[in-house]
């Protein structure tokens, strides 16, 4: 009974959390906790994988908990299994990484218990099968992660981050709560199976969709609800950042898929318009934000926003196709989305691990004070490079495969009857392409400024390579990025049951295609073979190198940099993160960020240094969040005098309440 096993594992995680409250005092305490967590995650991962590969039937259970008359329902079906696998893959790596990284933690007591609780919460969300347990786990997850964000609470920004996060999280939860309220109806039929069975009016379904977009979207980081994400994810310890960015957003996506594709019933075609637009904007904006960042972890957080956008593009396409009964195409789009979910978990966790390693080694998150680390910490640099290539959607790594599949799905859009979609989808494709290209730029910047060039600060100059555990986790994920990129067919087939259950169809079986290439629709139409491309490239590169070294010169002389004859030893003369982003800022920033550059160039003969300053505004924050906060504050201020009136005035309040009620009574009939 897999579900029982899974629940036992979750129980174990909760046990670990409880134990951590005392264990953290031991010297090996954190290693112990993380080790145990990693083990449990591995078991859960195995459960999920076995379930998927065996393609077993849903396994259900009901505990005498939660809503008394309903009980807590848990269900492991293909979708949950897929996400169970993803979640625990990420968690296992994070725990492994943390065995080493956790040593840097100044106050383990503030991390360990919540870490395990957080893991438990995420797993429960994926397993829950009634509205109450789902929301309970969902909010529990938010709460635990909030505590983790607050774990370094002495930095002022973190307090702010934690506050914004928890408020946004509760807004999201409330939205989901309302959605479930509609789904369950006035009698409160909260079980997923009953919800699934019920019939609904289009209007009601539309409202639910919007609420879910707010609820799940805010957690996943859809623009404009993403504001908390770049604040909160970096604030946590790096392995937690990896979890939040790489895994928790996936749980949010799971919530969206579960409700919209599974519970809500067949979609309307126009839903996909909303989702696609949001997704496209998210993908592009997320990356533009990332490009403007100079804080490595915030850059990664923003790029999470972008990748969520890509996943939602896939989901939107799936909706569009599903609504028009094009199940095959829907299956393709959904597979692309799910595959990208996995991929993003892999490379985003990997990158956050890398950023954590850098942070641990130099104490710096600001790229302007890093540089040249490829020489100080080569292994980290290499895995970070792998992650960067992968996330930039470049062959032959995994990021490319999922985006390629998404493009293939977009290319099926002519089959859609609705004109709006016919025209919208290619535009979305353009946005996707733009975001992919910008991603490459962004990660050239991230890797180039952080690891290449010359050290911009003493801390960066004295950095040392990280410990074995962290490296093990990073190597593992780098390897997986390669594997998924080279033989994606296996993963696609593994995801097939989940896709089949939602899209009503599945992609053609990939594992028996010749040479293990992937053929989404038909061989004549399009195909891609990762490992072949890789082998070709490797061979030709190797061949070229060998030939040249063998038959031509192999001599190498080290000399000072040439730099067109004007070499300058000062690291300050290098390109910085912000100067690297300057062309893009010129192109997009002026409108998107109202970026204004102020140059103060001293007159000739004047000895003071020239100054160059750029001011940028996060317009979404300025126009959406700040006014809301201001409004609440305003009302609060206007109401405040009400608590220092004289007794007589209070009595008058009572009096008027009484009189008005009597008047109501009088005019009632």
């Amino acid at each position: 009974m897999p579900i029982a096993a899974a629940l036992l594992c979750v129980l174990a995680l909760l046990g670990i959390a409880a134990a951590a409250v005392v264990v953290h005092r031991l010297r090996a305490g954190s290693a112990l906790v993380y080790g145990a967590a990693a083990a449990v995650n591995a078991v859960l991962l195995a459960i999920g994988l076995v379930f998927l590969l065996r393609g077993s039937d849903p396994s259900v259970t009901k505990l005498a908990m939660g809503l008394p008359w309903l009980g807590a329902h848990f269900r492991l079906d293909a979708l949950s299994a897929a996400f169970l696998a993803v979640v625990n893959l990420g968690s296992a790596a994070a725990s492994l990484y943390a065995i080493g990284y956790g040593r840097h933690e100044p106050e383990p007591a503030r991390v360990l218990p919540f870490y395990a609780a957080f893991l438990a919460g995420m797993n429960l969300v994926v397993l829950a099968a009634d509205a109450f347990s789902f929301l309970l786990s969902w909010e529990f997850m938010s709460l635990a992660s909030w505590a983790l964000v607050m774990s370094h609470h002495r930095e002022r920004d973190n307090a702010h981050a934690g506050y914004v996060y928890i408020v946004m999280a509760s807004i999201g939860t409330i939205a989901l709560l309302l959605a479930f309220g509609l789904l369950a109806g006035a009698e409160g039929a909260y079980g997923f199976d009953t919800i699934r069975a019920a019939e609904r009016t289009p209007l009601l379904k539309a409202i639910v969709l919007m609420l879910v977009l707010i609820g799940a979207g805010s957690k996943a980081g859809l623009v404009p609800l993403h504001a908390w994400l770049p604040l909160a994810h970096p604030a946590a310890p790096s392995h937690v950042s990896a979890l939040m960015s790489g895994v928790m957003t996936k749980v949010a996506i799971y919530g969206f898929i579960r409700i919209v594709f599974d519970l809500l019933g067949p979609p309307e075609w126009w839903w996909s318009v909303v989702v696609l637009l949001l997704a496209g904007i998210t993908a592009v904006l997320g990356l533009l934000y990332a490009l403007m960042e100079r804080d490595l972890k915030r850059l990664l957080a923003y790029s999470t926003v972008e990748n969520v956008g890509i996943v939602f593009i896939g989901l939107g396409l799936a909706m569009a196709f599903r609504a028009n009964g094009l199940n095959g195409a829907a299956a393709l789009a959904l597979t692309a989305a799910l595959l990208h979910v996995l991929n993003h978990t892999l490379f985003k966790s990997l990158l956050f691990f890398g950023a954590g390693a850098v942070l641990g080694a130099t104490g710096e998150r600001d790229m302007e004070r890093l540089g040249g680390l490829i020489r100080r910490m080569p292994k980290t640099a290499f895995v970070f490079l792998v992650g960067s290539v992968a996330i930039s959607a470049l062959p032959p790594l995994n990021g490319f495969v999922s985006e390629w599949l998404t493009f293939q799905a977009i290319l099926l859009s002519p089959q859609l009857p609705q004109w709006v979609l016919k025209f919208l989808v290619p535009a979305i494709g353009a946005m996707l392409a733009l975001s992919a290209a910008l991603a490459a730029t962004c990660f050239v910047k991230a890797f180039g400024i952080t690891f290449l060039g010359r050290a911009r600060s003493p801390a960066a100059a004295e950095a040392v390579e990280v410990d074995r555990w962290s490296l093990a986790a990073m190597w593992g994920f780098a390897g997986l990025c390669a594997v998924v990129g080279l033989v994606p067919g296996l993963v696609i087939d593994a995801l097939a049951p989940a896709v089949g259950m939602l899209a009503g169809a599945r992609m053609p079986v990939q594992s028996d295609v010749a040479w293990w290439s992937i053929v989404p629709v038909a061989a004549a139409r399009s195909s891609y073979n990762g490992w072949l491309v890789f082998v070709f490239a490797a061979c030709s590169a190797g061949l070229a190198a060998v030939l040249i070294h063998r038959f031509a010169s192999r001599r190498l002389r080290r000399a000072p940099a040439w730099d067109c004859g004007f070499p300058d030893p000062r690291p300050a003369t290098q390109y910085t993160a912000s100067s690297f982003a300057q062309p893009i800022r010129r192109v997009f920033g002026t409108n998107v960020f109202r970026a204004r550059e102020r140059i103060d160039m001293p007159a000739p003969g004047d000895m003071r240094p020239g100054r160059f300053r750029v001011r940028m505004h996060d317009q979404i924050w300025d126009r959406l969040y700040a006014p809301t906060a201001a409004a609440v504050d305003y009302i609060a201020r206007r109401l405040n005098p009400l608590q220092s009136l004289t007794i007589r005035r209070y009595l008058s309040l009572v009096f008027f309440a009484l009189v008005s009620m009597l008047v109501v009574l009088a005019i009632w009939r």
């Binding site: 005498a64 908990m65 939660g66 809503l67 008394p68 008359w69 807590a72 007591a109 503030r110 509205a131 109450f132 929301l135 309970l136 786990s137 909010e139 529990f140 709460l143 609470h153 002495r154 002022r156 307090a159 934690g162 506050y163 928890i166 408020v167 509760s170 807004i171 409330i174 709560l177 309302l178 479930f180 309220g181 509609l182 369950a184 109806g185 006035a186 009698e187 409160g188 909260y190 609440v632 504050d633 009302i635 609060a636 201020r637 109401l639 405040n640 009400l642 608590q643 007794i647 209070y650 009595l651 309040l653 009572v654 008027f656 309440a657 009484l658 009620m661 009597l662 009574l665 009632w668």
Partner: protein, 482 residues
């Protein structure tokens, strides 16, 4: 045992009465603190006994599903609070804010309050109930004023004036109910007994019932702390001794609410009367939203949590106003959870205020660093009161919001807005209190953690698991409330 159960109802009243008498005559405050705990403990025991066997309704006393919930809750919180108050009061004596003489008075009054509240809950007679609530008001007035600082006196005075006006309105309502009942039931005590009222409610004059309900809602609503009748509540909570704040928030509000519910039940029996629902919903929403915004500008911890009590009373009233099995169940659950959580919070806050020597937010920071247990206890309490899982209030808010939105979306919107706004305020404050660079005294706390964590544990368990009998019982009451 059987004897115990038979006379449980009487014991719940007699024990506090005797306790009061003893404590009034005992000079030694240490013994009296212990005696206080003992008395409340015995009360709790006999209250629990009510579960196993309950006497049939007499002319004056009535034990039914509805009030058993309240009585037990009352006895339990009273008991834990007395434990807390033992340590708290000792500290107050050291700092010289209270003299032994006042302590004697305090303990006696504590028992009187217990007695009055239990009587108000158990009374089978609307007149008797009114008298009991009146007495509870007076005792709390005296306890709020016990520090005799200008602020305390002002608070007590405010509380006293507004409370007695409310009480007067309630009495007028009671009289009208009698006038309505008397032609049907016949003159005399019978016309004031619940059992008869509910039985013959059908035949009563609807116009009279309507009028009565207006007065009763406003009268007892003042004690419940519904806006705009709430004015006394924040000051009374902020200026009185913390155990009293805990009892006020945790119990007295419930007692008043219980009265309102009783009359709602009466209204429910009669078809022609205009539904009490809309009135309660309106007042509930007003209180919720008003309190939610008032939470922001608070500078005083206890005052802020007082406003949060107003907010939650608003939610509860709203839930009962919505009616229906789900909402009523949620209302009862929310009430129980709120009593436990809020009193727990006040326990924590009390100790914090004693350690730091101030109640101002601006002078307290980083509690989780300086006093981890207390700090995390407070955080947990706030998390619970904010309606976060896996704690009890989440379940009730889940039920209220979802069912309301399904039934009447437009009502759910202000409800949700209020909840969110208050949520924001609570976390804004707890961020400041519990985290950041520590500020203020770091002397170790000699606190009694048992009551605090006992409450929180109960709330946490209730969040994920409610025992079947309790559920059956709540559902039964929910049915009664219609």
């Amino acid at each position: 045992m059987s004897w115990w159960t038979e006379n449980a109802a009487a014991l719940v009243l007699v024990i506090p009465a005797i306790g009061a008498a003893l404590l009034a005559s005992l000079p030694n405050y240490r013994i009296s603190a212990r005696l206080n705990v003992l008395a409340t403990g015995l009360t709790l025991a006999s209250a629990v006994a009510l579960v196993f066997g309950r006497p049939e309704a007499g002319a004056y006393l009535l034990v039914d599903d509805l009030n058993v919930v309240f009585v037990i809750l009352n006895a339990f919180v009273g008991f834990t609070t007395s434990i807390f108050s033992a340590t708290y009061i000792a500290h107050e004596l050291e700092t010289g804010r209270l003299t032994p003489l006042y302590l004697r008075f305090y303990h006696a009054m504590y028992q009187v309050l217990m007695f009055a509240m239990n009587l108000a809950l158990l009374a089978n007679n609307i007149g008797l109930m009114w008298v009991a609530i009146e007495v509870s008001t007076l005792t709390t007035v005296l306890m709020v004023g016990i520090y005799r600082t200008p602020a305390a006196l002002e608070a007590a005075w405010k509380y006293f004036i507004l409370g007695s006006v409310g009480i007067a309105l309630a009495l007028f309502g009671t009289i009208i109910v009698y006038v309505a009942a008397q032609p049907v039931v016949g003159p005399g005590l019978d016309a004031m007994a619940w059992t008869n009222l509910v039985k013959h409610g059908v035949a009563f004059d609807p116009a009279l019932l309507n009028l009565a309900f207006v007065f009763l809602l406003l009268g007892y609503g003042t004690k419940v702390g519904l806006a705009p009748l709430h004015a006394w509540l924040p000051n009374a909570h902020a200026e009185g001794p913390t155990p009293i704040s805990a009892v006020l928030s945790g119990l007295l509000l419930n007692v008043a609410l219980h009265a309102v519910l009783r009359f709602k039940m009466l209204m429910a029996t009669n078809a022609e009367v205009l539904a009490p629902g809309p009135m309660m919903i309106t007042m509930g929403l007003v209180s919720l939203i008003f309190a939610a915004f008032m939470l922001y500008k608070r500078r005083d911890i206890k005052r802020m949590f007082a406003y949060s009590s107003i907010e939650h009373m608003g939610i509860i009233t709203f839930a009962f106003g919505m009616g229906g099995p789900l909402a009523n169940f949620a209302g009862l659950l929310h009430m129980t959870m709120h009593s436990l959580t809020k009193s727990a919070i006040f326990f924590a806050v009390g100790h914090v205020a004693q350690i730091k020597g101030t109640q101002r937010f601006s002078e307290i920071r980083g509690l989780t660093v300086t006093h981890p247990v207390l700090g995390w206890g407070l955080v947990l309490g706030v998390v619970a009161i904010a309606g976060m899982p896996p704690l009890g209030i989440f379940m009730s808010e889940f039920l209220v919001v979802s069912s309301t939105f399904a039934r009447d979306p437009l009502l759910a919107i202000p409800l949700v807005a209020g909840i969110l706004v208050s949520f924001g305020a609570l976390f804004l404050r707890v961020n400041g209190l519990a985290f950041g660079e520590p500020l203020g005294s770091t002397q170790p706390a000699e606190a009694s953690y048992v009551p605090l964590f006992a409450h929180l544990a109960l709330v946490a368990v209730a969040g994920v698991y409610l025992p079947a009998p309790l559920v059956a019982w709540f559902q039964n009451v929910a049915k009664l409330l219609g």
